[in-house]
């Protein structure tokens, strides 16, 4: 029961009521939206105070570099989580993309040298896989949780088949350039990742498709009644998600110069956590580019800081877990629905 509303309803004129209501909502919204930013400032301040190297140019570049691939994965999750779905195939698709990229570009195992065309082929395959995932999920009415889990398994399996159990070491000179050359001190790989993220943010915020994703995530029935093509939008989201996961896999291959199925392993849940840290909801409808960016940045700063601090390796997991719980408590959007059932 909201006493405050009842109060303002009777004593104020309708116009004044709205002013009241909106002022209050805007204030609450501002505080909630600001929480992740505050968290970021606090995290950065703690880092800067406790570690003199935290603000060194090299470390800042490190942080940008380390958040690059999670940022690309976050584009994937940003869309999928906004729908209120989940894409568990991200890790498998990443593993496949990385392995297949290593297989196609210059490497030590075979004589392939398809270069950029190899990467384009990999991304095309990933997009198709995502579209098929979305198709099965929507037309077959199978929960995204199950569909994507199964597809992830398939992609991991295919990845292993690609390199026949012995991971492929990449010798492609362009990959060395991308991870080692810098523009204004920032590695190309980071610039590429940020560009991908920017495109994702633009799609989400400034296209009809992005608006439809928000609408479906908030209220699928209502979205359908407005005449949005719900199924097609969902299929597009899963295709986009797989494309992004594939891009992350390619970048991972560039980063590690090695293609194997395990490069996607444990890449997804940290990013899910990061997005929640940034104020996104697992329930759909709430979140967005800023949430994802801030969340990934805070998360990366946290892991970077823990290493700089030289926390005991056995305690590290405990400390990281506690910090995440505290941070999420501050930033999470609490819905009336319960997610813990």
């Amino acid at each position: 029961m909201n006493n405050k509303w009842e109060a303002s309803m009777a004593s104020l004129s309708v116009g004044e009521q709205f002013a009241e209501k909106v002022k209050d909502n805007a204030r609450k919204d501002r505080i909630r939206r600001l929480m992740p930013i505050i968290l970021l400032v606090v995290m950065t301040a703690i880092g800067a105070i406790t570690q003199k190297n935290f603000f060194s140019a090299r470390n800042l570049v490190n942080i940008l570099y380390q958040m690059s691939i999670p940022l690309v994965i976050s584009v994937s999750l940003m869309f999928v989580l906004l729908l209120g779905s989940i894409d568990l195939s991200i890790e498998g698709v990443m593993g496949f993309a990385g392995s297949f990229t290593a297989f196609l570009v210059q490497n030590r195992t075979n004589n392939n040298n398809f270069g950029i065309f190899g990467i384009i082929l990999v991304l095309l395959i990933c997009t198709c896989v995502g579209a098929i995932t979305g198709f099965i999920h929507t037309k077959g009415r199978i929960a995204s949780f199950i569909t994507t889990y199964a597809v992830g398994q398939i992609m991991t399996g295919v990845a292993v088949l690609v390199y026949n159990s012995t991971p492929i070491a990449v010798t492609e000179p362009a990959f060395v350039t991308i991870s080692q050359s810098r523009l204004f001190g920032i590695p190309y790989l980071t610039l590429i990742a940020f560009a991908i993220f920017a495109v994702g943010a633009i799609i989400l915020n400034f296209t009809a498709f992005g608006r439809a994703v928000y609408a479906i995530g908030d209220n699928e029935t209502a979205a359908a009644s407005t005449g949005i093509n719900v199924q097609r939008t969902k299929i597009k989201v899963f295709a986009l998600s797989a494309l992004m996961a594939g891009s992350a896999g390619v970048l991972m291959c560039i980063r590690l110069k090695l293609g194997q199925s395990s490069i996607g392993l444990n890449q997804m849940f940290p990013v899910v956590t990061a997005i929640v840290l940034g104020g996104g909801s697992l329930y759909g409808g709430k979140g967005g580019a800023l949430c994802s960016f801030v969340g990934v940045l805070v998360y990366t700063e946290l892991t970077n800081w823990l290493t700089l601090m030289g926390v005991d390796t056995y305690l590290r997991g405990v400390i990281q877990g506690i910090i995440i719980i505290v941070a999420v408590t501050l930033t999470i959007e609490r819905t009336r629905k319960t997610i813990s059932k």
Binding site: L256, S262, T303
Partner: protein, 354 residues
Amino acid sequence: MKKSLVALLAAGALAVSAFSMAAFAEAELPEDIGEYHLGICVLSLDNEYWAQEAAAAQLAAEAYGVESEILTCNSDPNVQLQGMKDFIAQYGDKACFVVDPATTANTASIAELCEESGNYVTILAHRAEGLFPKDYPHFVVSLMLDDLANGAKTAGALFEAIGGEGQVVEITGLLGDDSATNRHAAFEAALADYPDIEVVDSQTASWDQSQAMTLTENWLVQYPDLKAIFTSGDAMALGAIEAMANYGVSLPIVGCDGTKAALEAIQNGTLTATILNDAYNIAGYGAAYAIQAACGMLDPTSIPDDERLIFAGTQLVTADNVDEIYEGWIVNGNPGYDYFDLDFTVDHYQDPSK
């Protein structure tokens, strides 16, 4: 000095030994050897090392003229046991096994299962505490890798590479994993001999290349005087190497396992040393022990109890010997071992009190 023999074998004595091997085989192999079936139980084939284990056991089976079948279990102990039961149901007393167990705890169940059904088994790399082959006539031998000795070898090689002094960081494997624990203990033990080495940090990367890369990136900023990096796995070493390459430095670094990519890194000069865990040795001879026991060539109970607890041979790989190892193990996929010479695999014996 058995290790240098290998090089000899590969170099040219192969033909001679193959000839003598054939002669030996014709003389000693029982007539019904073709009816025996070797079950090769590995966790899965998506890992380079496990795939090598399977390939090695197949080589051994071929040498004896025994049928073989690979049973994977995706690291699930129950699936592994069920697969073995199905195999026994199919081939009865003609079945024998070489098993890389899904978990250490599973070794006891495997020994019990094979004892009950009367099938011979060799268990690789893991052994539950208090589980001894002497208590199980069908548990032929336990073949293990001496992580402590291996860790000591790589740590020694690393410390020598930096002249025995300076700042070092350690990247450990998955917390709680017994290999990770042993390799870490070996590293700690090796430090005792090098008082001028300073370990500035030690973190886990959970065997993961990417995590090791991130750790190294951060360390390179934090410890500008860093001299070397110790890792307990090749994947993690490769991650650290990528981080160093991006940073523009090249510090001595060691790994462990002997994967293809790591051997290539030694050839490039980016990796200082690694341990070849040599699946062709441990799994190939493991298979040979099981086959010989099954077809009556070897009576396990005639082996002294303590000699059924074996540490299989491994090799320290450095720039000196990497090329020949790469040729034999990776390019040919067959180092040319004589799987009839069972003693070859014995590097030293395990502590019989554990």
